[in-house]
Amino acid sequence: MVRDITLGQFMPGTSVIHKLQARTKIVLLITLIVFIFLCKNFISLLLITLFSLSVIMMTRISFFKYLKSLRVILFIIIITGLFNLFYGSGDVLWQWWQLTITTGGVYNALFVIVRIALLMMVSAVLTYTTSPTDLTDGLERLMKPLTIFHVKVHEIAMMMTIALRFIPVLLEETDKIMNAQKARGADMESGGIIKRVKALIPVLIPLFVSSFRRASDLAMAMECRCYNGGSGRTKLKVSRFGLADLFAAVISLSIFAGVIILNILFPAVL
């Protein structure tokens, strides 16, 4: 039940993508997303799609899992696709009352659908192949320059780590409390919306109480180990920018350069 919700979706593995540093993955992912939206014609879009798909293949995680990540936004894809279909100019393909479909509209819809789908799937590559700890560590190191502006980078990263760390704990707790209340005859599966919201009270109150208890215990435990923020804190395992990261960066950058060249060489369809 609650167990089945995939939130911290990390799937351990030993693929090339898994071995890349979190920092590299985050930066390359952001640039990749930018370039997905920079494609102006079908050839550059094809290049970026093929590149994204081969990255997905390289994670050695079943493609089905990526399709599953699309399910959440399927509705958005359909709606935006439909709206785009009716916007745009070009040769009229079909007309009825106020609605017209033009070639421009079809291209728009096609681009939007492919872009959103790719966006979701390449983001999944990051969350599927990077453990939450590595992810926040990567973010912390990327945000380090912001300390000049007095941004509490370490504290933000620590909060994220703790939040991520406690998601499974809280899910398990929710599961347990739900079971305990169900054993006392709580009915959470039927009734109208108001009845269902009311049925959540017996779950939410114990959950809040235990979250506060956990937070206070954790704070105490951290203080007992002399935690006093990020200053002067060192890491046991420092991941360094390695050959694989360099390789990944070079390949990605040449693909991105390819997109720019193809954009210039071929006429834009949008």
Partner: protein, 284 residues
């Protein structure tokens, strides 16, 4: 007639994912009406999964469970009625308290059963009395109670449903020795007066040895044995191989016997052991 019968039940957590885990593997057993059955096993042996299956909170991946000869999953929509008849007290049940007053919290179960207000009141007071909660505690917030009192209030919340089968999962975990003893004797008293069926999960042999009629030993998701308490503990060596401790007094008797003293090792309580040793010494 057996009140609960399990036929070849298996249970797998998160089937089809990387986290797939078989918690129970082909377990069958029968429990008679009015029995007090102890369930013991090492951590991860499947005890907790087993009792959640009996109560209908989990649905077996394979196999069937019968409550008085009726498959509990025959009508999945009516599973709530099974849960009213098979009451379940979870580990650390005090974390399920949520109402403004202890009284309201205990009445949550009976109210879900759709009982009359008068009947609810009767049951709440009876359940509170059984678990030793004083009347004046009924009107305070459950969050103001002490740890032991919270535990009692939570157990009362299940007893108030007056289930035919009462399952308790590690009810004494985290209590001090006196609290354990008192709680266990209250459960036993309740069992004797109500004449209901009780299944008590524990990994403490001392807890179970003195009150259970029969013991179900679980190991690695399988039924290791189901036999009378004395018979189970007479296999002390085998239990220790499973990583389970026999009660200390039983162990002492086993060692005495090994060293040539003619005592019966199937002794479960200190009193019995005391008498057994006296008998043996005076016999010489």
């Amino acid at each position: 007639m057996s009140v609960i019968r399990a036929e070849n039940i298996s249970f797998v957590y998160s089937p089809g994912t990387a986290f797939e885990k078989t918690a129970l593997d082909d377990v069958s057993f029968e429990i008679e009406e009015g029995e007090f059955v102890g369930i013991i096993g090492h951590t991860g042996s499947g005890k907790s999964t087993l009792v959640q299956l009996v109560n209908g909170l989990l649905r077996p991946t394979k196999g069937r469970i019968f409550l008085e000869d009726k498959d509990i999953w025959e009508k999945p929509k009516k599973i709530r009625n099974v849960r009213f008849r098979v009451g379940m007290v979870f580990q650390y049940p005090e974390y399920q308290l949520f109402e403004e007053t202890v009284y309201k919290d205990i009445s949550f179960g009976p109210r879900n059963m759709g009982l009359e207000e008068e009947e609810i009141d009767k049951r709440v007071r009876k359940a509170a009395a059984f678990t030793g909660l004083r009347d004046e505690l009924l009107n305070v917030s459950p969050f103001d109670l002490s740890g032991g009192e919270k535990r009692r209030a939570a157990i009362a919340g299940v007893i108030a449903m007056d289930p035919d089968v009462l399952i308790l999962d590690e009810p004494t975990a985290g209590l001090d020795p006196l609290g354990r003893e008192v709680l266990l004797s209250q459960i036993n008293d309740y069992h004797k007066i109500r004449k209901n069926t009780v299944m008590l999960v524990s990994h403490s042999m001392e807890d179970i040895a003195s009150i259970a009629d029969r013991i179900l030993v679980m190991a690695k998701g399988r039924k290791y044995m189901l036999d009378s308490t004395a018979n189970v503990f007479s296999n002390g060596d085998e239990l220790e191989k499973l990583g389970l401790r026999v009660p200390q007094i039983t162990k002492i008797m086993m060692m005495l016997r090994k060293n040539g003293m003619n005592v019966d090792p199937a002794v479960l309580t200190i009193d019995q052991g005391f008498n057994e040793i006296l008998k043996c010494l005076s016999g010489k």
